[in-house]
């Protein structure tokens, strides 16, 4: 009799816990593939397709499936490769293409004929304009993907390298010269 009771208790426990686990698996279900999301978070979201995939997400999916290398994204640069390697435990490889400085597209507004072709090409809607009106690019939103260059029938779009200004200037890694230069804009906090 006792053994039956014991079995019954264990069985009941199994049922309850099973139900709880089942419920939890539905309730706390993780949507999507977290690995793809993590990879995508590292990619620069330029949507340029230079990796050979039609956007950052497809590339992330391909990486997650192990279908392709992690060194195909030129805008992400070597740093992106490094971070992907860290995330996935893969080997760091040199970048397939040449690393380019960050750029923005600029439309020569005198030449633009207002054909709207570049608007259709821009993946992030960074170009404003209307048919037969001059178009212009919102520099802050341009990712520098160059997708708007080929469709332009009058070749009025060019890419400009982003230059350093006071707002995006970065302190450099300290290099201590053996013979200090007399005049240079270096901080002086330890001079006193």
């Amino acid at each position: 009799m006792d053994i039956l009771l014991a079995i019954a208790i264990m069985a009941l426990g199994a049922v309850v816990l099973g139900a709880a686990l089942g419920y939890a698996s539905i309730k706390f279900k993780v949507e999507g593939d977290p690995l793809v999301e993590k990879i995508e978070a590292i990619l620069p979201q330029t949507q340029c397709g230079q990796c050979g995939y039609p956007g950052c997400k497809p590339y992330a999916e391909a990486i997650a499936k192990g279908e392709c290398d992690i060194n195909l994204c030129p805008p992400g640069g070597m740093e992106g490769v490094q971070r992907l390697a860290d995330l996935l435990g893969r080997e760091v490889k040199p970048l397939e293409a040449e690393e380019k400085p960050k750029q923005v597209a600029i439309i020569d507004e005198n030449t633009c004929i207002g054909c709207t072709l570049c608007i259709q090409a821009c993946p992030v809607d960074a170009i404003v304009g209307a048919a037969k009106q001059m178009h212009t690019i919102i520099a802050q939103q341009c990712t520098g993907c160059e997708l708007c260059l080929p469709p332009c029938p009058v070749e009025c779009i060019r890419m400009d390298t982003l230059t350093e200004n006071i707002d995006n200037w970065k302190w450099k890694f300290p290099v201590i010269k053996i013979k200090p230069e007399a005049r240079q804009a270096a901080p002086l906090e330890d001079a006193a």
Partner: protein
């Protein structure tokens, strides 16, 4: 009256070098040959220029309009002609340039019409707006627009208003002299801040190496019948850091992730209070500030200087020694060498130090860290600079954040004590700006992603909408055409075939296209076919009416042959027109 003081850990005592510049009273610097006024002189949005080259401006005229709430207006420091609005080198460690308005003074120094602000009858919002329009910003060095700090937190009651007159950095004495000579205006300015923030207490913190300033402030507070408490704090660098002063006076510690208002404290510099009051009492915007000229000069002194004065011209007033080889803006602990001597004095410039190797001997090369821990003891924020240093050097930025790099105020105490002469702060600045850059990139990427996804969504939606519209249009047309066809058929053959045509027409109008594309398309096609048929009938060959017998027979033969060959269905277009309608019905 005695106030319990708290302590912060660490701190250093560098030689103060303050007495040289306090022997003489404040003097007015002459109008320079040319003024280069940067538009971006405060934290926040860059003001938009409202003048062009060639314009004549009066002293105090608006030249840069505040852009957004956190931004402050910029004004012409003297009357003259705008000769350029363009990029000029900035007093910034980067040596890069930014937009400036260059004014050639006409020497008349003629004010624009201005009137005192009616403070007694103004609402708090109006006062804040007025301070923004007058270009009042924090003059302690951070240049945060003052009006942005004058709104009390809605949830946390404002306990203390701290007025910072500590001025802990060596060489700098401009706040000291200001309090000695113009204490009354400072106290009135504090009164304005008090009215806006309604704190329970107002504490004025002054380092105890400035007894004259403290005495003058006490006298002014008493003379004006205010309840402010003037507190002398121990002289210890960096007691003048806002966070340190708050700590010393209230015992509260402000973490990097919070604003001091969240803890019920707000802190202003004495010079900020002074300029705020001047703007209100006289109606004159901020166009000048006090600057200490010291270091390797013969005549150190404090000057009231127009914003935009080239630093080289200002330094000449102090008669620099011939071995001067640069200008340091700010103090020796936190300041930096400016790129060249044409850069202008800005609202953040509190001190110019003539640099020479005699005064600041070049540092011996950096040695490896020996983990002595001296930097940790000196750090006023109780950080572990050596850990930060390791990780910053290894570009291990995530780790530096775990060690609270953003709590570092870059005071330089750690570099000051390091026996290995490691420029620790440079590493921290490097790490911080890398982290910020990454943050910016991440935000840009996130935004690009959102926009990309939205574009995709929009394209999908547009496609769907277009399809639906087409379907609707087609359905509508189908209905119309079918109805037409029926009508025509009915008109064309009323006598001979009353029945069939209408039936057929009704058969072809099962519309309206409830479910989209497919049905509608089918309906459209059917309708088009019906229409074609109807047309064929309607347009009976006119030449068949007047046929003679031979021709009719011939036609009938042809038709028969065609039918045999299966080219046409049994459609008798030819002989008697009456048959056509009947047959078509099948």
């Amino acid at each position: 009256m005695l106030k319990q003081l708290f302590k912060f850990k660490g701190g250093v005592k560098p030689p103060t070098n303050k007495t040289q510049s306090t022997t003489l009273p404040i003097a007015g610097a002459p109008i320079p040959s040319r003024l280069v006024v940067p538009l971006h002189q405060s934290i926040g949005g860059t003001p938009r220029p409202v003048v062009q080259a060639g314009d004549t401006v009066l002293k105090g005229q608006l030249i840069g309009e505040a852009d957004g709430w956190i931004s402050a207006a910029v004004h012409a420091p003297t009357s003259g002609t705008v000769v350029d609005v363009g990029m000029y080198v900035q007093p910034h460690p980067s040596g890069l340039d930014a937009q400036c308005v260059v004014i050639e003074p006409d020497g008349r120094d003629q004010w624009i019409a201005h009137a005192p602000f009616d403070y007694a009858h103004a609402t708090p919002d109006a006062v804040r707006h007025y301070l923004q329009q007058s270009g009042v910003v924090g003059l302690g060095g951070a240049v945060f627009p003052t009006h942005g700090k004058l709104t009390a937190s809605k949830t946390v009651p404002m306990d203390e208003l701290i007025i910072n007159g500590a001025e802990c950095e060596p060489f700098i004495t401009c706040d000291d002299l200001l309090m000695r000579e113009r204490a009354e205006d400072v106290v009135r300015g504090i009164g304005v801040f008090r009215d806006l923030l309604k704190p329970k207490k107002v504490l004025i913190g002054i380092e105890d190496n400035k007894p004259e300033a403290a005495a003058a402030m006490r006298a002014a507070v008493n003379a004006l019948g205010e309840q402010f408490l003037v507190v002398q704090v121990p002289t210890l660098y960096p007691a003048g850091g806002a966070k340190q002063l708050i700590r010393v006076l209230t015992g509260k510690e402000v973490p990097a992730s919070k604003r001091s208002t969240d803890l019920g404290v707000q802190c202003f510099n004495v010079a900020t209070a002074y300029t705020a009051w001047c703007a209100i009492a006289t109606g004159q915007p901020v166009i000048s500030r006090l600057v200490t000229v010291s270091g390797n000069v013969q005549a150190p002194r404090n000057y009231e200087v127009l914003i935009g004065t080239p630093m080289g011209e200002l330094l000449q007033l102090g008669q620099p020694h011939p071995d001067t080889d640069g200008i340091v803006m700010g103090g020796p602990m936190m300041g930096f060498l400016v790129p060249n001597d044409t850069v202008p004095v800005v609202k953040a410039t509190n001190c110019l130090i003539a640099h020479s190797e005699r005064l600041f001997p070049p540092k011996a090369p950096e040695m490896p860290c020996i983990r002595c821990g001296a930097c940790g003891e000196a750090c006023p924020h109780e950080l572990q600079p050596f850990e930060l240093y390791w990780n910053a050097r290894a570009r291990n930025f995530g780790k530096t954040q775990e060690f609270h790099i953003f709590d570092c105020i870059e005071c330089g105490c750690c570099s000051f004590v390091c026996p290995s002469r490691i420029p620790l702060v440079q590493y921290f600045r490097f790490a911080k700006s890398e982290i910020w850059a990454r943050e910016r990139e991440k935000n840009a990427a996130d935004e690009a992603k959102v926009r990309f996804e939205f574009k995709q969504y929009r394209e999908e939606r547009e496609k769907a909408e277009k399809a639906e519209k087409l379907a609707k249009a087609a359905a509508a047309q189908a209905a119309k055409k079918a109805a037409e066809a029926a009508a025509i058929a009915a008109v064309e053959s009323p006598s001979e075939t009353p029945a069939p045509a209408p039936t057929e027409a009704t058969g072809n109008t099962p519309l309206p296209a409830v479910d989209p594309a497919q049905d509608a398309k089918k309906a459209a096609i059917a309708a088009a076919m019906a229409r074609a048929k109807a047309q064929r009938e309607a347009a009976q060959p006119k030449n068949t009416e007047t046929l003679n017998a031979d021709q009719a027979r011939e036609l009938a033969d042809i038709e028969a042959r065609r039918q045999q060959a299966g080219i046409v269905e049994a459609r008798t277009a030819v002989p008697p027109p009456s048959d056509a309608a009947t047959q078509k019905a099948e």
